[in-house]
Structure formats: structure tokens, C-alpha cells
């Protein structure tokens, strides 16, 4: 800088960088990460984020189980995952350092608030000695600043209490990181002024903290350590972009689907559960878009109210995570028996039972496909990214209403919270699939099937001359009346199965995400593992390995070419965040010797884990 009295080295270029912000769950690491993400986005880089926070809302201060982290991977290339290894770790206290250090690259940078490394915090984190004072961090570049004091000095003019001043530390750290990568502060300052509109003093203090952190980077007399970087812009399709989380994608996709189907009203019924509640919160603000939200007394009632709404002609949607989906099972059975549309969003988390509520897993696949009494088929879809959440929600509405069936969408805790850049679609470009409610009494009975889709008619109560009764008892194929006739039950069971199987003719053929349509190895994934698998396959292909990536969005029914496609590879490897579920479905369905690569740590796959598995096979 020409105006600076300190001589600064030129900014160095980095193709991509992984930063992890870590601190106490009360330190504001999630908002720090989100704001850094926004500035990254506005600067034109591609990115992928991974919020990782504890189940405890406010664990005791300074403890390892209270560490909350937010990771962002950003760069000029096609960023597909939140990143395997961390380049820069921001550790606001000793607990954050001890928990997160293992993911830091050798030679990576660790930025700490030295004031937080006091005896009390060190002992809570299990450090016998202060790691800042010995050589235990010798393999890393350690930047220790008294962030506590620097923040306190910066906010002093605003007259905050020491507690309030302490809460601004995250903004100081954010300011420093924004300087480090040459990013703007404008959006962050706007956001702070909006967030604290009713507390202008707090807003001003936080802005001061951001600015102070930024200025510190600009002027600190640590020239040899404080290098600024430049991360190139990503080359992406032209258009208008924003960041989108999986939750937002699903919520807006449901609204778009409602509109595409021409249905007046959506009734979304939920019950609070981590990590699915955010969807209820998001939709609760969308009444202006025809969304009625209902917080039910339990998961069962939530699914019941959604199904009741569908019966009445609205779009019934319910949402939960694994343990709650288990409770909705009987209502799914009723929806299948009465052939009513119902959308069920499952934000999967680690289990069984309560498991690890804030950690992601893909272990509800069996529950979704098979987890009901009797022969009870339905459609199951899984989004591959946060952006895909929008499209998959629209597709769920299309299939549910066209085939009069429940559709389960398998999201997960990672997709729900992660964020990516998203090219914003225009409503005019979205699909249209208007539903028709039956109003004609001529020849009507409630289970009269459309010859093509095998779907029964959707009738709104209130329609004259179509009064009818439906329920969970088996019904006659030709009249809809209760029937216990053995042959009729066989016929109805087959009709229900054929209807769902027939969806395979109405969905895209299985494509290949990367590579050839035959060869030595196909790596087959589903859901949120898309990025990690794709990158791993890319790396292997760059090293001339004969490998392809296939990602399955339609899990029930499978695309009709999937079996033939998989048989064109010598080997099939199935990485998934469970103990081997899709792999068993593929083996059962197609009699192929697919091999499993399970991961059940509650964390997303690293690219290297999949790359190594490919390396071993090929």
C-alpha cells in the first residue's frame, strides 16, 4: 500500500483455501462464518461451507464439547466440498484449538486469541501447559494476538460492558480474515446495522470491531507472517447468484412446486427436532406465498395434519429427522393406502435413536424405502447439493400430486445447514404441472385409476355429488368400498406397487456425473456426498484411472436404466454415510456385487477417503 508506513509484501495468489472458524458455542462462530461466506460470494469465488456445532445450546464455557465450528472452502475453481484439510484455523479458545487442530494441514496457519489461553480455559480444554508457550505447535504457523484486548480497545468509544465487548471478538477476527483475503466489509457492515437496528450502539461497536480487525491486518508489524492473499474469481455460468442453504432450497422449492402444481395452499406441519426445525421456521414466514404452517403436538400429529390437508385438497407437507420419521410411519401407511399426496422431508442425522442430533448421516435410506408395515411402496428422492434441494422439492411435488402418493425427500443435517452459491432461477422458467381435481360425478368412484399413471382421482371435500369415504381398510379395486376379498387384496397390492414402479417411466434416465458409461469402476453415491465423490473421481481420472461417478437422485423407484448401466462396469463402489444401505438395495435389485465404503463418524466424506478407496480398487 502506497499510503502505508509499513512495507507490505505483495498479496500471494491461492487457488483455493479452507478456513475453519472455531470457538465456544456462544462465540458467534456460525455468524462469523456466514458473513465471511457472503463476502466470498460477493467477491466472485466459488465456495462450499460446513457448519459443525454441538447439540448443546450453551455448553459450559471453554469446554471441548461446547466447541462450535464453521468451515468454508473457497476458490476460483469448481469448489465441490467444504474441504478435507484446513489451511487456516481460527481458534478463539484452547478447547477450539485442541478439538480442531487435527484437521489443520502441516504448515497451516492457526490464529488464536492469546488472552483466551488462560489457566482456567487451558485446564478446561485439558492442556497441562499452554501450547502457545512450548513447541507443540511448531509444525504450524501460529499467529497469536490478544484479540480480547484489541477488541475491547476498538469498541471502547461505544461504552459497552466488558461482557458486551467480549461478544464482539468474532467480528474482530472476521475483519482480520477479510483483510487477509482482500475481501470487502460492506455487506457485513450492512448486515450488522440491520441485525442490530434496534441497538445502534451494539451495531456501531461490532462495525468498529470488524474495522479494527481489518486495520490490524493492514498495519500490524508482523510483516513476515501477515501475508495477504488473493483468491481468483470462479468461472461460472452467467446470471444472478445468491447463497442458498439446503433448508432454504427446500422451502423455496416447495413454494415453487405449489405454484407449479397450481395448488392454492400448502399446509406444512412439523414438530421441533434437530436438524429439521429450520424448515418449519423458514416456511412460517411464507404465508404470503400460500403456506400454512402448523406446529403440532407431536410427529404423529404433524404427519396427520399434513395428510388431512392433502385429503382436503391442499398440499400436505411434513418434515422431521430420523427419530421423528419413525413416528410418522403409520401415517405414511395410511397415505399409501388412501393414495393421497404427502411430502415428507427427512433431514437425516446420526442414530439410532437420539444418536448425534447435530451430526449428519445417510442412514434413513432403509427406513424411507422399506420402513413400514406390510407392502407399502412410495417414492424416495435425495438432493445432491444445497442448490439441488430446490429442484428436488419441486420434483417431489410433481410426483406426489401426479401419482397420488407420499414422497420422502432424504436431505441430511449437513445439507440443511451448508451453503453454496446458487444461480437464481426465474419463476417463468420453472416447470408447470397443474393438478386437476375431479369434479365430474359421471362414473366416479374414489379408486378409479388413471390408465397411464394408475393414480386415483383427487377430490376436494366440498365437491357436490362426489361424497365418498376412504380409509385404511382394504378397498375394492372396482368400487372403493371396504373389501376383505383375498383376490382383491392381491390385486390392490399389485396396483399400489405398479403405480410406484411406473414412476420410473416418468423420471430421467440415470446419467453419469463424470466418466464413461462403462469401464473398470463406477463409484455410486446418493445425496450430500456428491461433491466429495465427484472430486475424488476427478482426481483419479486425472491420474488416468478408469473410473466413473454415478449419483442416484431417485432411490425409489430407481431410474429404469440403472441396473443395465451398473452392469457395464467391472466393479461398483458405493460410498455412503451409513453402514451400507444403498449398496444392499443395489445388490438386491440388480444382483450385482457392489462393494460398500461406509462412513459413520457423523462427518461428511473427505475427498481423500474416497480417492484412497478408488486407488485400492483400481
Amino acid at each position: 500500500m502506497a499510503t502505508s508506513s509499513i512495507s507490505r509484501p505483495e498479496r500471494e495468489t491461492r487457488d483455493s483455501v479452507v478456513i475453519r472458524f472455531a470457538g465456544d458455542s456462544g462465540d458467534g462462530m456460525q455468524v462469523t462464518g456466514s458473513q465471511f461466506t457472503l463476502e466470498t460470494a460477493l467477491a466472485g469465488s466459488d465456495f462450499s461451507t460446513f457448519p459443525d456445532f454441538p447439540a448443546e445450546i450453551r455448553a459450559p464455557t471453554g469446554t471441548t464439547f461446547g466447541v462450535s465450528a464453521f468451515q468454508i472452502h473457497f476458490g476460483g475453481g469448481d469448489v465441490m466440498t467444504p474441504g478435507d484439510a484446513v489451511d487456516v484455523l481460527v481458534a478463539m479458545n484452547p478447547a477450539a484449538l485442541t478439538v480442531e487442530l487435527r484437521d489443520l494441514k502441516v504448515g497451516g496457519t492457526v490464529i488464536v486469541d492469546s488472552a483466551a489461553f488462560n489457566e482456567r480455559n487451558l485446564s478446561k480444554a485439558g492442556y497441562a501447559r499452554n501450547p502457545l508457550d512450548d513447541d507443540s505447535l511448531a509444525r504450524y504457523q501460529v499467529l497469536k494476538f490478544d484479540i480480547t484486548k484489541l477488541t475491547a480497545d476498538a469498541v471502547k468509544p461505544h461504552g459497552l460492558s466488558s461482557r458486551e465487548a467480549h461478544l464482539c471478538r468474532n467480528m474482530w477476527a472476521l475483519g482480520l480474515l477479510l483483510w487477509m483475503y482482500g475481501y470487502e466489509r460492506t455487506a457485513t457492515i450492512e448486515w450488522l446495522n440491520r441485525k442490530f437496528a434496534k441497538k445502534p450502539v451494539i451495531a456501531a461497536a461490532n462495525v468498529a470491531a470488524v474495522n479494527a480487525g481489518h486495520a490490524f491486518g493492514e498495519t500490524a508489524e508482523m510483516a513476515e507472517h501477515m501475508v495477504g492473499y488473493v483468491v481468483p474469481k470462479a468461472h461460472v455460468q452467467a446470471g444472478r447468484y445468491r447463497t442458498v442453504s439446503g433448508t432454504e432450497g427446500l422451502a423455496w422449492g416447495l413454494v415453487a412446486g405449489l405454484r407449479a402444481a397450481g395448488i392454492e395452499k400448502m399446509v406444512f406441519a412439523g414438530y421441533p427436532i434437530t436438524p429439521a426445525s429450520a424448515l418449519l421456521h423458514t416456511l412460517a414466514n411464507l404465508r404470503a406465498y400460500g403456506v400454512v404452517t402448523f406446529q403440532a403436538e407431536d410427529e404423529i400429529a404433524a404427519s396427520g395434519a399434513a395428510l388431512g390437508a392433502s385429503y382436503a385438497g391442499a398440499l400436505g407437507v411434513t418434515s422431521s429427522s430420523g427419530p421423528g420419521i419413525a413416528l410418522k410411519t403409520e401415517m405414511l401407511g395410511l397415505a399409501i393406502a388412501t393414495e393421497l399426496p404427502l411430502i415428507v422431508i427427512d433431514s437425516q442425522r446420526a442414530g439410532p435413536s437420539t444418536g448425534m442430533p447435530t451430526k449428519a448421516e445417510q442412514s434413513d435410506l432403509f427406513q424411507a424405502v422399506h420402513g413400514r408395515n406390510a407392502d407399502a411402496p412410495l417414492a424416495v428422492l435425495a438432493p445432491t447439493s444445497t442448490a439441488d434441494c430446490f429442484d428436488i422439492a419441486i420434483e417431489a411435488v410433481r410426483l406426489a400430486t401426479k401419482y397420488m402418493t407420499p414422497v420422502i425427500v432424504l436431505s441430511d443435517g449437513y445439507l440443511a445447514h451448508a451453503a453454496e452459491p446458487w444461480r437464481i432461477p426465474r419463476e417463468a422458467d420453472l416447470p408447470r404441472f397443474p393438478v386437476t381435481y375431479r369434479t365430474d360425478p359421471e362414473g366416479f368412484h374414489p379408486f378409479l385409476r388413471d390408465p397411464e399413471t394408475l393414480a386415483r382421482p383427487w377430490v376436494k371435500p366440498g365437491t357436490p355429488q362426489l361424497e365418498h369415504r376412504i380409509g385404511g381398510l382394504e378397498r375394492d379395486y372396482d368400487s372403493g368400498h371396504i373389501s376383505y376379498d383375498p383376490d382383491n387384496h392381491a390385486r390392490m397390492t399389485k396396483a399400489r406397487a405398479d403405480k410406484i414402479a411406473g414412476i420410473a417411466n416418468d423420471i430421467p434416465l440415470q446419467g453419469i456425473a463424470l466418466g464413461a458409461d462403462h469401464g473398470k469402476l463406477a463409484v455410486v453415491g446418493w445425496g450430500s456426498t456428491f461433491g466429495a465423490i465427484h472430486r475424488a473421481v476427478q482426481i483419479a481420472r486425472d491420474e488416468s484411472t478408469d473410473v466413473a461417478h454415478i449419483h442416484v437422485r431417485y432411490l425409489s423407484p430407481f431410474p429404469r436404466n440403472l441396473g443395465d448401466l451398473l452392469k457395464r462396469y467391472d466393479r461398483v463402489l458405493v460410498p455412503e454415510m451409513n453402514n451400507g444401505q444403498l449398496v444392499k438395495l443395489l445388490r438386491a435389485e440388480y444382483l450385482i456385487p457392489a462393494e460398500s465404503l461406509p462412513k459413520v463418524t457423523g462427518k461428511p466424506f473427505r475427498v481423500t477417503e474416497i480417492a484412497q478407496a478408488i486407488g485400492k480398487i483400481s
Partner: protein, 334 residues
Amino acid sequence: MTVTTITDAQLAPKDYASDQEVRWCPGCGDYAILKAVQKACADMGLVRERTVFVSGIGCAARFPYYMSTYGFHTVHGRAPAIATGIKLANPDLDVWVMTGDGDGLSIGGNHMLHVLRRNVDLKIILFNNEIYGLTKGQYSPTSRRGTRSPSTPLGSIENPVSACAFALGAGARFVARSIDTLQAHLIATLKRAHAHRGASFIEILQNCVVFNDAVFDHITGKEVAPEAQVLVEHGKPLVFGKNKEKALRLKPGTIALEVVAATAPDVLVHDETNRPLAQLLAALEPPFPTAMGVLYCSPTESYEHDFYAQKGAALGKGDLDALLNSERTWEVVP
């Protein structure tokens, strides 16, 4: 939300019957309830296509199949939840929940609690026969202590729940009790329930002729009825007995009812808007007379009314493009 009243005066009770053969046991109290409901429907001129009967599981839950209206026979205990969804989707529908003591107070007890406290505009008719009939005679949550059944061969050791006391405790704004065989009273009570906006709860003492026959005879028997029932009516003294010679009043110095001569001072006059009184009446059991009629009626706005009346609650077709472009966006130029 506007409550439009459309009636169909042309229909007779039989027009509310579906073409399906009724399959309750011969002599079941449910036949009398079906008859009373169909008569009440005709008297009120309910429009069939705007009327929905929702049920859970159990003998009572077969009810919707026998009505010529819309009907949804759902899963055990969940009818209140499904009916809530129906009303949220279309508040103009006239929705009835037909349930039983097991369906409504055991497996569905939680839903009953919440549908009542939310005050969803539903008619909730609970057939209480103090037994699980469809599963062949196990004791139910309303069975009295000592009830011998296949699952309690030595007699039940559980304390029964009082349906009306439960409903009042849950915050219901309309609570009534009647009897399957008391046709005129039952029909009048059904009409009162229908006129009420919000959740209206009726417990009907219903005889299960196969598994729990005569369980209410000490209340409903022709001989004992005048002594064993007090028919409550708003604004009228709480008198009973063959010649209406007995009455109820507050026992001086206590919060309890006592039986006195009808001529005694301070005989209670029924005030159906008085919740504590309703709670005392609901809890009466032998040797006191059992209270029949509208124990409590104190209307307030229904759940769905309040939902749609909330400020900024208008459902609409908001601008989707504006929603997707809310917050920060950026342009990538080719």
C-alpha cells in the same frame, strides 16, 4: 374467515345414510347414535358435500362409512390431528370427529388434549362404552376399577379417566354428555354442539352389548334414571328425582356439591358458562346423579379463525422471484 351457513332443507335422515350395510353387532348402542346423528343432520339441513366425518380406529370409527357425506377412516387415535389438517386447509368444511374411549382417551389422548386446547372448530363425539370392543373386550381407560376382562382377569387396578373432566381440563369450550338411548336429548345435544364455534366435545354413554353389556344400567335404566341422572339446562335449577324433588347445591363452606331437597335454599341454577361448576358436574358419580346435557359452553374464536385473522396472515400468491432474490445477490457476467 367468514362462516357461511348453507343448509339443505330438502333432505330426510335417510338421505344422510350411505349405501353400505351397517356392520355393528345387533343391539349395539352405535345404531342409536347413527340414527340420532342422521336425524340431527336432517333437522339442521347439513349440506352433504360440505360435511366430513373423520374417525380413528375402533367400533365407533366405522361411523363415516355409514354416512353419505365425505368421510375419512384414519389411524388409531389420530383423527383429531387429521381433522385439524382438514380445517387448516379448508375452514369452511363442517368436520366431525367420531371417536371412542380407547381411540380418543388412550392411544389418541395426546391429540385429544391438544385439539381441545387449540379450539379447532370440530364436533368431537366420543362413544364411551368403557371397553375395547373391536379387539374383543379388553378394559379401556374409562373402565372402572375392578373391571374383569381378557387382559385383566383379576380385575383392573387402574383408575378410570372421566371423559368430560378430561375435556374441561384440556380447556374445551363446549363439553356435553348424553346417552345412546336418550334420543331426543342426544339429538338436541348434537345440535347444540353443531351451533358452537370451536371444538365441541360430547361424551355419549354407549352400551356395548357383547363385551360390556349393561355397564351403564345403573345410570340409564328406565327405573333408576330419574334418580341417577341430573339433566342440566342453562338457567334452570339443578333438580332431579322422579318428581324433581331433589336438587344440587354447594355444600356450605366447601367447594363440593351436595344433594338437598328441591325446596331447600341456595339450590344451584345451571350456568353453562361457569367452568368450575362444569368441573363439579362432570366429576359427579354414583351415589350422586350423573350429569347429562351441556355442562359447559363458553365460546371463543376458533383456532383456524385466529390463524387466518392474524395480522399479516393473508395467504396469497407472493412474488416468487422477489422471494428468491431477497437478501444479497450478485451478478456474474459472461
